[in-house]
């Protein structure tokens, strides 16, 4: 068991402050993406911290502290979506990928994007990627935010979201290709 966890279990306030500084902003970002509402997200984070405080005493450290906290966050977000009467996010089955011909070749050729040569071009691409992520359906959005934005590993994401590793892999692939398609479309329209 980690030293930090020992200190937390012993009620060390400085240790808890470390935990808050390390995770709070990421929790707000992930919760905002999960419930799509800033006010609701803050409540979800608040509820999560309360659950963490309560659960620390009995937390056995089978998963990492970080994974455990974010799994609680995800459960709180799901609860929130239910009480708000919104549809809960579920994975969808694989459709036929229409970008390819029957023989597995691209329907139309893929052209390279121009290299972002200066700061302004880089910023433009960054904004497009952000807008592309925003446009994703759940749970693709959550998977790409956890994986690519916040840097969680594949196994961590599947544990946090309570989905299989294969499901996590497929969702990440679809999310990245959808964001790529979004950028491609925007670049074409800008021409």
């Amino acid at each position: 068991m980690s030293e930090l966890l020992d200190r937390l279990k012993a009620g060390d306030q400085d240790a808890f402050k470390l935990l808050v500084r390390e995770h709070h902003s990421t929790m707000v970002a992930v919760a905002t993406s999960a419930v799509s509402d800033k006010g609701a997200a803050e409540e979800v984070v608040q509820e999560t911290w309360l659950a963490v405080i309560k659960g620390l005493k009995t937390f056995e450290g089978r998963s990492s502290l970080k994974t455990w906290i974010f799994a609680i966050l995800m459960n709180q977000a799901k609860k929130r979506l239910r009480t708000d009467g919104k549809v809960e996010w579920v994975g969808r089955s694989e459709d036929h990928d229409e970008r390819f011909r029957k023989d597995g070749h691209w329907n139309s050729t893929v052209d390279a994007w121009p290299n972002p040569e200066n700061k302004a071009a880089h910023k433009q691409m960054l904004d497009l990627v952000q807008a592309g992520i925003e446009s994703l359906p759940e749970p693709q959005k959550l998977v790409v935010i956890l994986s690519d934005v916040e840097g969680f590993s594949g196994p961590e994401v599947s544990e946090i979201m309570d989905i299989t590793k294969e499901n996590q892999r497929v969702l990440l692939y679809r999310a990245r290709s959808a964001v790529r398609d979004y950028v491609e479309q925007a670049l074409k329209e800008a021409k």
Binding site: H24, W106, V129, Q130, R180
Partner: protein
């Protein structure tokens, strides 16, 4: 030989370094002869890297930290 569709479906594992040697070699071979898949791989890679730049690096305010710390201590 791998098709473009198979290439595209595995490209996420490929750029994340999660493929074993055999499949990895067949990805590399396909990319050497297919400019569309080469372009696609670079685009997916760029999307992944740019997404990483969106991470919020700001820390919570001291007020938030203190409030939560107080909750923690009061619950002991």
């Amino acid at each position: 030989m791998r098709t473009c569709e198979e290439f595209a479906h595995d490209v996420t594992d490929y750029i994340d370094g999660k493929m074993t040697l055999g499949p990895r070699m067949s990805m590399i071979l396909h990319a050497t002869i297919c400019s569309s898949c080469r372009a696609y791989r670079r685009q997916i890679e760029l999307v992944r890297n740019l997404a990483g730049e969106l991470k919020t690096s700001q820390e919570p305010t001291e007020e938030t930290v203190d409030e939560l710390a107080e909750l923690f201590t009061n619950s002991q």
